[in-house]
């Protein structure tokens, strides 16, 4: 059904999807004509990250990709920065399961057009986030230090992040910014990453899922997303608005070069 939708109805040449192989679920890119048996949509691979890795090698053709709401937003951030050409992307909207929504404490789970899955209500808020914001600075500090002490510098949070652009020579690999020669890395590692994501993060939660130390990274993201909204009234995830972080106080709109009209 998805194959039909992608290749026939939406005219894609490739389809990025998850499917069963060797008793596991694998990300897979199927090209026109190939069959797609054993498709699985219940394992949240970050397909946009995978797209980002392979995109430079795909010189032509339309790529259909299963997009949850967060993937849509991630794509928007990539399109905005001209990492991918929107015209070459076919979004196949996937509405997340209640279970997944719970895992992600997701407040915005429904893609703009749902092709698969039943739309479900988003969740109001993240329990831990609430608890943390009620804590004293000291308690909050101790909480995060205990969490960050588990960090083993695998870079899973950056490598799997769909909106981490510069994973070649990331500043977090640099002793200038993260001075500690051993693991765990110091607080700057996490604070700098937090700041870098503040105008990009679309709260997909992949960093948290990928973290071997199970640090509640998504919770930190949610807290900072709230701060960003509060301070500069900005939330990442749509093509048009450029990050306010680097503009003048007047702000700037992204001149949209629409060559159709």
């Amino acid at each position: 059904m998805l194959v039909k939708l992608a290749f026939e109805e939406r005219g894609a040449d490739h389809l990025l999807i998850m499917r069963e192989e060797h008793g596991n679920v694998a990300p897979a890119m199927i090209s026109k004509g190939e069959s797609a048996d054993g498709v699985r949509l219940d394992i949240p691979y970050q397909l946009v990250t995978i797209l980002e890795n392979i995109y430079p090698w795909l010189s032509k053709g339309k790529i259909a990709i299963i997009t949850r709401r967060c993937d849509e937003k991630a794509l928007a951030e990539l399109v905005k920065r001209k990492y991918v050409d929107e015209k070459r992307i076919v979004k196949i909207g996937l509405a997340c399961s209640e279970e997944q929504i719970k895992k992600c404490r997701c407040n915005d789970p429904v893609p703009s057009n749902v092709a698969v899955g039943e739309p479900h209500e988003g969740m109001k808020d993240d329990e831990l986030a609430l608890a943390l914001s009620k804590m004293s600075h000291e308690d909050r500090f101790n909480f995060w230090v205990d969490q960050y002490k588990k960090c083993n510098k695998c870079f899973g949070c950056t490598l799997n992040c769909p909106v981490c652009f510069c994973d070649d020579d990331c500043v977090l690999e640099d002793r200038t910014f993260v001075a500690e020669p051993n693991v765990p890395p110091g607080l700057s590692f996490h604070m700098i990453r937090s700041f870098h994501m503040i105008d990009k993060c679309i709260e997909c939660g992949e960093c948290e899922r990928a973290c071997p130390a199970e640090i509640p990274l998504l919770t930190m993201r949610k807290l900072l997303a709230k701060d960003m909204k509060e301070v500069l009234g900005f939330s990442p995830g749509d093509e048009m608005t450029v990050s306010p972080l680097n503009t003048s106080l007047e702000g700037e709109q992204l001149e949209d070069e629409c060559d159709e009209c």
Partner: protein, 678 residues
């Protein structure tokens, strides 16, 4: 235009994480975690994420080379293989088969190691086959085989999640086995008590509940000390001891003098902490004990391992869910290489070469008569070479010029050899000394299986072709076998090899690629129907009853002196792996840990006027190296630590080759050294 995600197994530590190699038109572009993998749960360490980086490196060996008047020159496969066969034949005729040794590899697949040992035993006619397990867990095998009956993890990696108490000793788990470490973190989050016993302050010790810092080489003392506490406080699991073990009385006798006070004197561990730790471990319902080379790499390594076994048995912490003794194996297939019989005294599946019935079985299976004389261990082989008794070596994928103790000595020995052939993926320090160098395929370029540290067989699936003329090691070994004119090397796939291995290896009896392809199977797996074994020694110990072995603390082979006041201990860091041939060619890993260093206690450093980052010279009775000092609180006064990955300042120039009499493992964890400003 093809984009593939090939599920395979990580080539680094023994955890055996599966991940996807991302391949676009024959080019490796990255690693994607496998979210459904039972072992890794879709999490990797930095080495795993960079496992693609070295594969297509420009330095890869692309064609065979033969040394002609001192120079290695490009050659054809036939020339190279003929040369090897010719030389080995000549030497065998002149000096007998036992003048030749073959080194198998913990980085090669089970199938390859099976073929290697078959090549040594059935073709060359010697049991002189060994590999670097000798340097890491030889004493685990000797020790645990003696106490339990088999020398591997009694439990599985996922079981760490549900332990109530985890006692980790001699293992920098978060750096050396990050994903196993992450299981320990999970357990801690779920309320488990974490006890770390280590001379070094490691990332894990820093988040442990109890951290005991013993002086290097005093392990039996603290273990016996804990046993004494457990016995005195009636924390012994009487039923278990009665029903499952023998010789407990001897143990009681042996540990009676190890009062907390005495133990504190020997080890430096405060007595209160020792007692507290002993109680927590003993009282825990599900207690996992994990250890690595901090325990094994001692001249009394076998005894220390036996002491560990004593501790677990006395408290009944063996053979149950999330309860057992877990040696963490350090290389992707070091467990498998041992399983596959790449050991001088054991056939595949730990069957003794000096056991008549066993030998008969193999002679029948391979259709040739075999030597009943246990072969030389790696460490002895080097010594024999040094005195001119061993004449030739064929090495598959090992780099003894970095990994072995007292490299100076190793180098002399290797130079004594009449003939040395090396098969590897890069021009290693060892290959530089070879007469013939063969280009091998790496993990991403071949099929086969690794057996990870929890006895699970993990599939390797070929993602790309090997560079240039490079060949897969099992193919190379088979071609050598054929050129020697032997039968039994006509394999057309690794599946076939595994099939043969299964027929002669009871613990692998039910293994087959087809079976492994769909899920995780752990040995022992005697029959096709058998699902594999998660927990060893569940009903009874492999050897029947577990046996308590009284062991006594003995000082390390080399003690400090006026001239050499520091204890040098060696190990790994997170970012580099073993002799660095792969990691040092992975830009991100090299960027994280680009140069050798010595960790020295800040107090000692200040006393010697050494600033953090300053160059120092470390000297032992065997040699000296120059490197940067890291002045830190992470190591106790009087002790220094050097990671052994770095050829430019190889820690093993300094280490002591003193051997454990039983397992022949060298004392890599303790030697005397001095520190001076460069």
């Amino acid at each position: 235009m093809s984009v593939r995600h090939v599920l395979t197994t990580c080539p680094y530590c023994g955890t055996g994480c599966n991940f996807y190699l991302q391949v676009i038109d024959g080019r490796l572009i990255g690693v994607v975690p496998c979210k459904t993998d039972e072992i890794s749960l879709g999490r990797l360490c930095i080495k795993g994420y960079n496992a693609h980086a070295f594969v297509q490196h420009a330095d890869r060996l692309r064609h065979p080379m033969i040394r002609e008047n001192g120079q290695l020159r490009k050659a054809t496969w036939d020339q190279a293989l003929d040369k090897i066969v010719g030389e080995l034949r000549r030497i065998r005729e002149k000096h007998g088969p036992d003048s030749i040794a073959l080194l198998a590899s913990a980085k090669c697949t089970n199938e390859e190691n099976y073929v290697f040992q078959k090549l040594a035993r059935a073709v060359i006619g010697t049991n002189n086959v060994d590999h670097c397990a000798r340097l890491c867990h030889a004493s685990t095998i000797t020790g645990l085989v003696h106490s339990f009956g088999s020398g591997a993890m009694t439990n599985t990696i996922p079981e760490f999640d549900d332990a109530d108490c985890i006692l980790v000793t001699g293992s920098n788990t978060l750096e050396a086995h990050p994903i196993i470490g992450s299981r320990m973190l999970r357990a801690k989050e779920k309320g488990a008590k974490l006890i770390v016993v280590d001379p070094r302050d490691t990332p894990l010790s820093r988040i442990s509940h109890i951290f005991l810092r013993q002086r290097p080489g005093t392990d039996i003392a603290w273990i016996n000390g804990m046993l004494k506490v457990i016995i005195d406080e009636k924390l012994v699991d009487e039923d278990f001891v009665k029903s499952r073990t023998t010789a407990f009385e001897e143990l009681e006798e042996a540990v009676k003098d190890y009062t907390p006070e005495k133990v504190e004197q020997i080890t430096g561990i405060p007595k209160e902490k020792l007692v507290e730790a002993a109680r927590i471990y003993a009282k825990a319902d599900k207690a996992m004990l994990a250890y690595a080379m901090g325990i094994t790499q001692h001249s009394n390594g076998t005894n220390i391992v036996k002491a560990i076994a004593n501790l677990a048995m006395a408290t009944g912490h063996v053979g149950r869910e999330s309860t057992g003794v877990n040696p963490l194996r350090g290389q992707c297939n070091v467990q498998g290489a041992c399983d596959s019989g790449a050991l001088p005294n054991l056939y595949p599946g730990y069957q003794r070469v000096d056991d008549e019935a066993v030998r008969a079985k193999f002679e029948k299976a391979w259709g040739i008569s075999l030597s009943d004389k246990p072969g030389l261990t790696l460490t002895h082989a080097v010594n024999e070479a040094a005195i001119g008794k061993l004449k030739a070596m064929m090495i598959f994928g090992e780099n003894i010029m970095i990994s072995d103790p007292d490299i100076g000595h190793v180098e002399e020995a290797v130079k004594q050899l009449e003939f040395l052939a090396v098969s590897d993926i890069f021009m290693t320090e060892t290959a530089h000394l070879a007469d013939v160098v063969l280009p091998a395929a790496c993990y991403a370029e071949k099929d086969g299986t690794f057996t990870n540290t929890d006895r699970a067989l993990r599939m390797l699936r070929k993602a790309i072709d090997a560079p240039g003329e490079a060949k897969v090691d099992w193919v190379i070994a088979c071609e050598l076998g054929k050129k020697f004119g032997s039968n039994g090397f006509e394999f057309s796939s690794t599946a076939e090899i595994m099939a043969e291995m299964a027929t002669v290896t009871p613990i692998y009896g039910g293994m087959s690629h087809e079976k492994i392809d769909r899920g995780v199977v752990r040995w022992p797996c005697p029959t096709k129907e058998h699902p594999g074994t998660r927990i060893l020694h569940a009903q009874k110990f492999t050897r029947g009853s577990g046996v308590f072995v009284p062991v006594q603390h003995a000082p390390a082979a080399e003690s400090t002196s006026e001239e050499y006041p520091f204890i040098l201990t060696t190990g790994r860091n997170l970012f580099q792996y073993h002799t660095g041939t792969m990691t040092r060619r992975s830009p991100k890993l090299e960027r994280e840990a680009p140069e050798p260093y010595v960790e020295i206690n800040r107090g000692d450093a200040t006393r010697l006027g050494i600033n953090d980052g300053e160059r120092v010279i470390i000297t032992s009775r065997r040699g000296s190296i120059a490197l940067k000092a890291r002045s830190t609180q992470r190591i106790i006064p009087g002790t220094i630590f050097i990671p052994f990955h770095y050829a430019e300042a190889a820690a093993n120039r300094l280490t002591n080759a003193a051997l454990d009499p039983v397992s022949n493992i060298p004392e890599l964890k303790v030697c005397a050294a001095k520190v001076a400003k460069a």
